[in-house]
């Protein structure tokens, strides 16, 4: 089935096909249209989900944690400051090993107050123990949400999954999309059958109690091991998904990287814009390519190092600041991943697109221009810089 849908509607439709047991829903700003669309499905009797409206995102995540701990499949959706309000509970969900699926529509955090797209919200949650999968467009947002179930619910993973898409650029844009038939989706995701859960009377248990020092570290190590296992599981699920959809996914997507000398590492919708620019540069004889990071947690460090090893100069594009004074979060991961290579490409970080600053094919061409210079001169200063901001004269 092919029709134009917005990213929000696409993810709501994925949720409808999944027909989760519970949705924790804070259905007003800064949430998204996702709970709004889903509320219609509930009202029309198209799903039999327990739709729990709450007073905040702190509570919507609490509802998901309680429901999933009880043995139910729970989902939620949020954005920006809404995710920030969930932070405390994100860690609880992950450490309780509850495979909740959360749609995160990436928008800037306040302040200054801004509603537009960047990754400052989910990047702030990158150490919470959630898997993070990013979408380039509405199709990937839909596909990723379906794959979240069999990834997170696998017994040796059992971690929550955050499915991210770009605010407005993807969430509010109508584009063509291929939807799967609902019976195919149901078969693909299967039933959620956890080993242990609160409502299992044969095996009473407590979930989320105080974890004293003699146990806490063991639990954290198990959580870290699960995150490592998730990498292989993501690829298995991607292969299964390809067999029902024909669409291929990996930990990241390499675009024209086979003989690329200059390349970008970036995420989300910007990767699409950059692909168009790469095509044009290739026509002009520039050996350009890009790697689009799909899975940020677990971070595919070794695989990424292999993909970038042959290039001369790489720019990492960070759409969140991070304020480390040493580059953005994607840069930190990428540079760390390259450390073990004997011969490394030159690497720079460019922070761009904050608070919805538009990213154009011309911007991509500028970055490749700089990479071409670096490949010749080896001069990477400044390693970490910003692009797209106006000068003092321009803003005066």
């Amino acid at each position: 089935m092919s029709k134009p849908l917005s990213g929000n509607e696409a993810v709501a439709y994925a949720m409808k096909q999944i027909n989760p047991d519970v949705m924790g829903a804070f259905p007003i700003t800064p949430s998204t249209e996702i709970p709004e669309y889903f509320a219609n499905y509930v009202a029309n009797g198209e799903v039999n989900t327990e739709y729990v409206t709450v007073e905040s995102e702190h509570s919507s995540m609490s509802v998901c944690i309680a429901a999933q701990a009880a043995g139910a499949r729970a989902v939620s959706a949020t954005s920006s400051c809404g995710l920030a309000l969930m932070y405390e509970l994100l860690y609880v969900a992950a450490s309780c090993r509850l495979p909740i699926a959360l749609a995160c529509v990436n928008r800037a955090l306040s302040g200054p107050i801004n509603i537009n797209h960047d990754y400052s919200d989910s990047m702030g949650a990158r150490d919470s123990g959630w898997l993070q999968i990013y979408a380039e467009n509405n199709q990937e947002a839909y596909d990723n949400f379906l794959m979240a179930m069999p990834i997170g619910e696998t017994p040796n993973v059992r971690l929550p999954v955050m499915c991210c898409m770009d605010g407005f650029i993807t969430s509010h844009a109508v584009e063509n999309i291929e939807l799967l038939e609902t019976d195919v989706v149901r078969k693909f995701i299967g039933e959620y059958n956890p080993e242990n859960y609160l409502l299992k009377k044969e095996n009473p248990l407590a979930v989320g109690p105080y974890d004293v020092s003699p146990y806490y570290m063991e639990h954290k190590v198990q959580e870290a091991e699960a995150m490592k296992v998730a990498k292989a599981r993501i690829l298995e699920v991607a292969a299964e998904f390809e067999s029902i959809s024909g669409r291929r996914y990996g930990l990241f997507e390499e675009y024209r990287m086979e003989d690329a000398e200059l390349g970008l590492v970036l995420m989300g919708s910007s990767a699409g814009t950059a692909k168009a620019a790469v095509d044009k540069l290739r026509e002009d004889g520039v050996k350009a390519g890009l790697v689009k990071i799909r899975v940020f947690r677990p971070f595919p460090g070794e695989e990424l190092a292999r993909a970038l090893a042959g290039a001369k100069a790489i720019a990492v594009m960070d759409k969140s600041e991070g304020f480390s004074a040493n580059g953005g979060p994607l840069f930190a991961e990428t540079r760390s991943a390259l450390y073990d290579l004997k011969v490394r490409p030159y690497l720079i970080d460019i922070v761009y697109g904050l608070g919805g600053r538009d990213f154009k094919t011309e911007d991509v061409e500028k970055v490749f221009g700089r990479l071409a210079d670096i490949a010749v001169t080896g001069e990477t200063y400044p390693v970490y810089s910003h692009m797209g901001q106006r000068s003092k004269e321009e803003t005066a």
Binding site: K3, I169, A173, V174, E175, N176, A276, K360, T361, E362
Partner: protein
């Protein structure tokens, strides 16, 4: 950086006039015709009456570019008072056209377009809407005029698909279907090209 087989459209309107809705409807209906489409608004502080911009890309191949549109083929101006505050022809391609909701003629509008020498089209969307629907919903007649002027969709199939779309949209108010179809047809007949 659009390719030749892609049509890019920029909509200018004021919050509450339905420019975004017209943009989304065009994406929907072009998608039904098997085209690859994008329809997206540019969000700022949303207030009734504040200027808003929305965009369409329509092409035979999937478009990966997700930036705003800086060099449109067509521009629609849903509220002519925007001409005083916004450079609506900015980046408009030479062979393209601007379509303005106004009772004036293309000849009368041209001097207000800051030296634009390309095609100027006008449509009295307000009058058409008020005559047929009894109220001012300029977006449907603007959509009709856009499809007519750009030729981006074949008229017969466009009208048939719009009727389907209206049947779905106005399922609870079927009396609005005929009126909206009439405004589309009327604007396609009346749009002036100068």
């Amino acid at each position: 950086m659009a390719t030749n087989d892609m049509v890019e459209i920029r909509w200018h309107g004021r919050g509450g006039q339905g420019a975004k809705m017209a943009c989304m409807l065009l994406a929907d209906v072009a998608g039904l015709e098997g085209k690859f489409v994008q329809g997206f608004p540019e969000y700022g502080p949303e207030r009734m009456g504040a200027p808003i911009t929305a965009y369409n890309r329509i092409s035979e191949k999937r478009c990966n570019i997700h930036s705003n549109i800086y060099y449109p083929d067509y521009v629609a101006v849903v509220d002519e008072t925007l001409l005083d505050s916004i450079d609506v022809t900015r980046g408009l391609k030479e062979g393209g056209a601007i379509i303005i909701n106004t009772p004036s003629s293309p000849q009368e509008m041209r001097p207000r377009l800051q030296g634009w020498t390309g095609k100027v089209c006008t449509i009295d969307a307000r009058r058409i809407s008020e005559e047929i629907l009894g109220t001012n919903f300029p977006n449907t007649p603007m959509l009709g005029a856009m499809v007519k002027v750009s030729g981006v969709l074949e008229t017969g199939r466009f009208l048939a698909n719009m009727e389907e779309s209206f049947k779905h949209k106005f399922a609870a108010k079927p009396q609005l279907i005929a009126g909206n179809m009439a405004t589309l047809k009327k604007s396609m007949e009346e749009v002036q090209v100068g």
